[in-house]
């Protein structure tokens, strides 16, 4: 066999070896039934084509498998997450990071209108990551804080330049107050006022 033939043979072998690798993410769980795997793979391809992060979709599937949930229910959850991330992606724009999109999707899932998330993103500018603020917004709304009160609280905190540690403290305090019986809206509004602010960093950057 001459050199070129050997090289071509090696390439064909390499192509055969690699072909399955890029047909499907290897973490598409083996415990899943074949139709569910195919459906999730299609959702992931669709998300990738739209520029939506795919890692959260894979992890949603992994979570379902770990929790012993059946395939169709996992597919439904991945489909819902794909839709919510697409909504969040459109609302935040191309400047949003993958983590921000995922966090915003959880807020959308909790009932926060995506347009409100877009406004917060526009207000905060490019440098301030909104991953934690969106995560906390989703949390407090899921604990009963009305959407409007939650959005106002997060918007005022971000606008005032609150750091992530301050927003973490805010979340712990609000959830603690609610567990002790405080009306959720009152807890959010009151605790938002207590967070230290930095007027200098409150100026939004141009997007």
């Amino acid at each position: 066999m001459n050199r070129s033939a050997r090289a071509v043979s090696a390439l064909i072998l390499a192509a055969v070896a690699f072909a399955p690798a890029h047909a499907q993410d290897p973490r598409l769980g083996n415990p899943l039934d074949a139709p569910s795997r195919v459906a999730i793979n299609a959702l992931i391809d669709s998300a990738r084509a739209q520029g939506i992060p795919t890692e959260p979709l894979i992890q949603k599937m992994n979570q379902g498998v770990a929790m012993g949930v059946d395939g169709p229910r996992i597919v439904a959850a991945v489909r819902t997450l794909t839709r919510e991330m697409a909504t969040a992606h459109r609302a935040l724009g191309t400047v949003a990071t993958a983590d921000e999109i995922q966090a915003a999707a959880s807020a959308v899932h909790a009932g926060v209108p995506a347009v409100e998330l877009g406004k917060i993103k526009k207000q905060s500018g490019l440098r301030r990551s909104l991953t934690l603020p969106f995560t906390v917004l989703a949390d407090i709304v899921s604990r009963g804080v009305p959407v409007e009160a939650g959005v106002n609280a997060i918007r005022s905190l971000v606008g005032a330049g609150a750091k992530d540690t301050d927003i973490n403290t805010f979340q712990r305090n609000v959830s603690g107050d609610i567990e002790k019986g405080a009306p959720p809206a009152a807890a959010a509004e009151t605790r938002a006022k207590a967070v230290p602010t930095k007027p200098d960093s409150a100026k939004p950057e141009q997007l």
């Binding site: 795919t54 894979i58 992994n62 929790m67 949930v69 959880s106 989703a138």
Partner: protein, 182 residues
């Protein structure tokens, strides 16, 4: 699936093979010209199908084919590179997970950061008078996780934000790990 690093090594070997000089004997040029003339005549008489049947042993064509295959394989791999590869490049930050569970026999932390693997010994918590804890390096970013108590009961972290998308009817928590290098 071959590892990303393993794939690169294979490609390097292929490239090395392709870059190796090919030694031709003295009659090579004469034989090539004879073939070219014959091909030219055949193209006139029989068209491109005839040419296709003659190109199988030509180093130039082989190199072109090889380059095409390498490009297709490489692009395919790059396109399919999972986000986890990106996440794998994120800096790891130590995170302590704590659950107060005096009655528990075992507590483990399971989440995005270990692909929801149920047998990850690195995330098995140790018991200190009912206070279970484990500290593990977690990539910067946003994660979902839960405690698995006694190998069967899923428990959210009471000190962390809820993961609102608990579509599976079992609670989980959200974790945002800051990149301390930024």
């Amino acid at each position: 699936m071959p590892e990303w690093g393993g794939g690169r090594t294979t490609l390097e070997m292929i490239v090395q093979e392709l870059q190796r000089p090919v030694a031709f004997d003295e009659t090579f040029e004469r034989r090539v010209m004879v073939r070219v003339r014959r091909l030219h005549a055949e193209r006139r008489s029989r068209g491109w199908v005839a040419i296709a049947s003659r190109i199988t042993h030509r180093p130039g064509w082989a190199a072109a084919l090889a380059a095409s295959v390498v490009a297709v394989v490489t692009l395919g791999l790059m396109r399919s590179r999972p986000d986890s590869a990106r996440q794998g490049g994120a800096p790891l930050e130590p995170v302590q997970f704590v659950l107060v569970a005096p009655e528990a026999h075992s507590v483990a932390v399971v989440g995005d950061f270990n692909d929801w693997g149920l047998n990850d010994s690195a995330l098995v918590a140790t018991n200190h008078e009912g206070v279970w804890s484990v500290t593990a390096p977690v990539p910067a970013g946003v994660h979902r996780y839960a405690f698995l108590v006694n190998g069967k009961q899923w428990v959210a972290d009471p000190s962390a934000p809820r993961a609102t998308d608990d579509d599976f009817g079992m609670p989980s928590s959200a974790l945002v790990v800051e990149d301390s290098t930024r």
